[in-house]
């Protein structure tokens, strides 16, 4: 018991610096967002004075023309990319985990190799191609690169999850009268749910947070929030738009936090405990 407590305390002690390290930038952004315009550059970490002017500016004021459409684009791009990526990755990973076909190792290897590619090296050629085939500044024009970025990782994660699910479960379902599709849908997918959620969240975050593709492959009509932030301007040329950018950053962080809190349990949830004698 004492040992247990000791362990707990030492763990807390180790994690404390990590928590502080990761929280400082977040708190700082929050602090900048609520600082009144006049105090923006006062070199204080904690805000002296509190105002919601910045939020008003980007939601209803002058910057809302820039921010609100970008927010909508972000949501659309994120959701479409996530849906397609999860569905494709689930099928692909299932095939890799269950079937024996030639070229299986090749697929996994290529998938991994692709994800090692530096993103920035892809942007310029992609920009050229997109412009000539009319995908520039469109939603699909963003979704496609995000898919190719996230699919490799999703496939790797999901095939690991599928491989953990005992073959017998599926065979049992088939003997019980299920078709392969029913066995997949009623037994395998529910069991792989933590993996599916994990990949879904990874994909959504990638699409949601990406700046490089967003700034290079869009103009007015498909611009997402990270790119739009770069176009914020101050109220006059003597004012920095720091407050407005921070406020926007706070707003786009909210869905991320909510998602993580919602699905945290599902991600951590034990996978197949009790399926077979362990």
């Amino acid at each position: 018991m004492e040992q247990n407590n000791k362990q707990k305390w030492s763990l807390a002690l180790v994690s404390l610096p990590v928590i502080i390290w990761t929280l400082i930038p977040v708190i700082w952004i929050f602090s900048l967002a609520v600082k009144p315009q006049a105090n923006q550059a006062d070199n204080n970490f904690w805000p002296r004075g509190f105002s919601l002017d910045n939020f008003e500016l980007i939601l209803f004021g002058g910057a809302s023309d820039l921010f609100l459409p970008a927010l909508l684009n972000s949501i659309i791009v994120g959701l479409i990319a996530t849906t397609i990526s999860v569905i494709l990755a689930t099928f692909c990973a299932y095939a890799i985990a269950r079937l024996n076909f030639s070229g299986k190792k090749m697929i996994l290897f290529v998938a991994l190799a692709v994800s090692f590619f530096p993103v920035i090296s892809l942007v310029t050629p992609l920009f050229d191609v997109w412009r000539s085939i009319g995908l520039f500044d469109t939603i699909p024009g963003l979704v496609i690169p995000y898919l190719s970025l996230t699919l490799p990782l999703s496939i790797w994660i999901l095939s690991a999850f599928f491989q953990q699910i005992p073959w017998e479960l599926e065979q049992a379902a088939q003997v019980d009268g299920a078709t392969s599709w029913q066995a997949f849908r009623k037994v395998i997918v529910p069991l792989a749910a933590p993996g599916v959620f994990t990949t879904g969240i990874i994909t959504f975050f990638t699409a949601w947070n990406d700046f490089v593709f967003a700034i290079s492959l869009t103009s007015e009509s498909a611009r997402t929030v990270p790119a739009a932030l770069a176009f914020f301007t101050g109220a006059s040329q003597f004012e920095q738009p720091t407050g407005a950018i921070s406020a926007a950053a706070v707003i786009v962080t909210i869905p991320v936090v909510i998602l993580v809190l919602l699905f945290q349990k599902r991600i951590v949830a034990g996978l197949t405990s009790g399926a077979v004698k362990g």
Binding site: L169, A172, A173, Q174, D176, G177, T179, L191, S273, A275
Partner: protein, 419 residues
């Protein structure tokens, strides 16, 4: 209700490994058939071919006279209990049992599903656990849920793949009788794979003994025990196993390492040209002469006992002997086939618990030579197998089976009439 017919079933894996080499087997309606053999003998593969989880390379499989080789598992209407139970961890016990019913969409109303699951749960005493998840159940309970999933549908046959091997010894004994009771009650054709010969002997109407993909003998447990067809079956069935002794034919006696036994007339012809047969004697046929008086025809001998094991109801004594090197290679091969470890050659004697023989004693034993089996060294064939006796045992056990099946059907009908 169905009979299952296997005709020259062959399984060759992609790498060319032949797991099953032409097995033919008829399983009668309502019969409890056991597939038994050491690991790697192809018994599980055979079962999985019956249920449809493995393709049949060659041969024909018929269920109720209909060829099913090409049917998917779901179209064969068989129920299977897996070795590791294969319960669906995300579903409650109720939903696990109801799973096959829910798949037959539109066939059952919600009330029917409930009623059927509750009936199955009542048979298996799972009523209190219906809302729990498999993860929270004990091994025995999980095993019962797996059986519940099988009995809830009106399957043509049950298939068990070593269902008890994950349970501890006490629970295994309980579940064994439970399975026997259930099978008799439902009177359903059952194929049961095991490597445990106690399960094979106690559960089966008939037992099919397999060795490296080949069927050795299909017979009732009693026939296997008393009239095995060859060395392998004789060594596999029985615990502790049959003693195999190298013998030398010398005129009309067989010289064993421990004693000489006379050769009866009919065996003498068969032994011509076979100078080095193997003699098999079950441990319980060797008696302690100080507890039990020998009969006139018994052969007596003295031997030094190396180790004794007293178990309360019986006692084992071990007598080491020097083996004939000309025969040893055959005995080693047999030992490997039986998953043995190739340890020292010793005679096991199953003594009466009252016996006062202790370690290191030189004791007097006797045995009835008529109870000994004599096997051919090269082919392993049992030269002393009595076909008439074997046929009589087969007839008797088939009668027993029919009677008990009729009884259970009559009881079922009476219960149905009463309710």
């Amino acid at each position: 209700m169905a009979n299952i017919e296997l005709r020259d079933i062959v399984k060759t894996y992609g790498d060319g490994f032949k797991a099953v080499k032409g097995v033919s087997l008829d399983i009668a309606d309502g019969e409890f058939m056991i597939l038994v053999g050491p690991s790697g003998c192809g018994k599980s593969t055979l079962l999985r071919m019956i249920v449809g989880l493995e393709d049949i390379t060659a041969g024909e499989l018929k269920i109720s006279g209909k060829r099913v080789n090409e049917l998917a598992p779901r179209d064969r209407n068989l129920a299977m209990v897996f070795q590791n139970y294969a319960l669906y961890p995300h579903l409650s016990v109720f939903e696990n049992i109801a799973f096959p019913l829910r798949l037959a969409r539109g066939q059952f109303t919600e009330d029917e599903v409930k009623q059927k699951v509750n009936a199955a749960a009542a048979v298996l005493e799972l009523q209190d656990h219906l809302d729990r998840k498999p993860a929270n159940l004990s091994g025995g309970q999980r095993q019962r849920v797996a059986m519940g999933r099988a009995i809830v549908r009106d399957a043509d046959a049950f298939l068990f793949d070593e269902p008890l091997s994950n349970l501890d010894a006490k629970l295994r004994g309980q579940m064994r009788t439970e399975i026997a009771r259930m099978q008799r009650r439902l009177g359903i054709t059952t194929v049961y794979v095991t490597h445990d010969q106690i399960e094979a002997m106690t559960l089966g109407d008939r037992v099919a003994v397999l060795k490296r993909g080949e069927l050795q003998q299909v017979a009732s447990p009693r026939e296997l025990y008393e009239q095995p067809v060859n060395l392998f079956v004789a060594g596999f069935i029985g615990s502790p196993p049959m003693n195999f002794l190298p013998a030398r034919v010398d005129g009309d006696v067989l010289k064993l390492p421990i004693c000489d036994i006379p050769i009866p007339g009919e065996l003498q012809q068969k032994l011509e040209g076979r100078d080095l047969p193997i003699v098999g004697i079950r441990p319980e046929y060797i008696k302690d002469s100080s507890v039990q008086r020998p009969n006139d025809r018994d052969v007596t001998f003295e031997a030094q006992v190396d180790v004794t094991e007293w178990l309360g109801n019986e006692q084992y004594a071990y007598v080491p002997f020097e083996s004939d090197p000309a025969v040893q290679h055959k005995l080693d091969e047999l030992d490997r086939d039986l998953d043995g470890e190739g340890l020292r050659t010793q005679l096991v004697v199953n003594l009466d618990a009252r016996s006062r023989i202790r370690e290191g004693d030189v004791a007097r034993f006797h045995l009835d030579p008529a109870m000994a089996h004599v096997f051919d060294l090269a082919t392993g064939e049992n030269l002393t197998r009595n076909e008439e006796e074997a046929a009589r045992i087969a007839r008797e056990s088939e009668e027993d089976r029919r009677r008990s099946l009729e009884r259970s059907k009559a009881r079922e009908a009476a219960e149905a009439g009463a309710s």
